[in-house]
Symmetry: C2
Subunit: 286 residues, 2 copies
């Protein structure tokens, strides 16, 4: 089995201090190392539960990566990995964004110390103010013919207006490294709009979240991806925008209550996307 | 002007330590003393803004108490009071419940100390877990022919199942002081259901909250009220259930972002009410 480091990871853990990072194979699979503590176990528990849960409708299941079990991976010190669908396998020049959902990233049963740590990040980013935060993105830069990925530090400092601007940049064709240039929102209708676009997918998710009391998706992310190669070839209609949920290390049982934290953030995120669709030419200043 | 202490106040500040409490007159007006610090001022600011804001649709305005300005009230040390519509003026035997909305009751700009104080209450009650907490209620007890109002301490200790049970008790005809008896949910369809019922009103509010970016209603409550006298006379159809928003001391500008905190809690509350409507006979145990 040929495994390699994924090219377009925008957030989450990477190989560091001898610990393995995620890997991909050439058969469309993504290998995610089990996180330490109980987080890895909890994520496996979620995937096992979710993949066999008959109460999850099929049209919702497609918003989640396909789960292929766990596997000890040679060459990574035999570390156990979660084997998932590689969400980017079918994209040649993907633009990707990771958006951490909810107005809090801690969960009710967490330790005081963990709550305080999260709370500090949540108030310092747009998590509390907007109900979500952009935790990573990579965009194909059409002017430079290369991928552009901002430093994490830059993203952490984003306020509401910065998040709004970043969501415009994500669907723009002009150079992103030039911070002064106004994003042209060239791909807004083919990525955010349309019957298969991001907004439509988000609204479908929202309908489910208004009713589902199975899981609480604490500290979970929405991954948005679209294809740039088709756009380069002048075929905007083939951008294949996709919305996926990722990162389930802190998912908990819903116990009959809807996930109002995720849902509130999702509704806010939907409004940001809708605003951009309704006024693609507008400056980001509010 | 004849002013007296309101009969059915279920939550909020009362006369204490020489400070005046709220008063009512016989012309359907409610006098609310300005709270200390900047809270009183902020509430006046909200009412002034809201009552003149042309962007608020009329069908939404009816969910808010009518504002009659401020007034210095004699006999209360000349204290300045906010003059509002008395929401209970037209009810002879009202059952009333105050539900504090949102999965956090602090606001983004609050001091560290205030945040921590709220956070402690929020995690200790159902605020974090359910996205709302019942902060007070008074129910007309048909068996005892008197009003029944639980102690605040009892309400503070409620968990999710307790909140669910309390929302059933609110629309039940059997004695409430007997904690062992199972609520019969006798009035569920005439109070929570129907085209003018609580659920319909909540859904109307939800539609507005999905779009409105004018205000963030931090630490605001939903007041539910219905008439028992008509029910006593065998006329369930005249229960006149009403949903109102109250307590605006911590309302802030929305700055282009929806109030995802209130909205998430509202969606959760709607699901609690819907669950009770769909299975009125079910035991409250989950």
């Amino acid at each position: 089995m040929q495994l390699k480091v994924p090219e377009h990871q925008v957030a989450g853990h990477i190989a560091k201090d001898g610990k393995p990072g995620p890997l991909v194979d050439d058969k469309g699979r993504f290998f995610k190392p089990l996180q330490g503590d109980s987080r890895g176990e909890n994520e496996v528990k979620f995937y096992e539960s979710f993949s066999t849960n008959t109460e999850v409708p099929d049209h919702i299941r497609r918003f989640f990566p396909v789960y292929h079990g766990t596997q000890a991976v040679e060459g990574s010190d035999g570390a156990t990995m979660i084997v998932l669908e590689n969400l980017l396998a079918d994209y040649s020049k993907p633009s990707v964004m990771d958006v951490k959902m909810g107005s809090r990233t801690w969960y009710p049963e967490a330790s005081e110390e963990y709550v305080q740590k999260c709370l500090k990040k949540d108030t310092g980013t747009t998590t509390v103010s907007a109900g979500f935060r952009i935790s990573g993105f990579e965009v194909y830069d059409h002017k430079e013919s290369s991928f552009w990925k901002p430093e994490r530090k830059l993203l952490r400092g984003l306020k509401v207006d910065g998040a709004r601007l970043t969501l415009r940049k994500f669907v723009s064709s002009n150079s992103l490294s030039d911070m002064g240039s106004k994003p042209d929102s060239a791909f807004v209708s083919s990525v955010y709009g349309g019957s298969n676009g991001v907004l439509t997918q988000l609204l479908e998710l929202k309908t489910w979240f208004e009713n589902q009391t199975l899981y609480h998706f604490n500290s979970c992310s929405i991954l948005m991806v679209y294809e740039n190669e088709s756009i380069l070839k002048g075929n905007d209609g083939d951008a294949r925008p996709q919305v996926k949920l990722v990162d389930f290390a802190h998912v908990m049982d819903g116990n009959g209550v809807i996930d109002h934290n995720f849902l509130g953030g999702l509704c806010s995120f939907i409004n940001f996307i809708r605003d951009i669709l309704q006024s693609p030419d507008e400056s980001a200043e509010s």
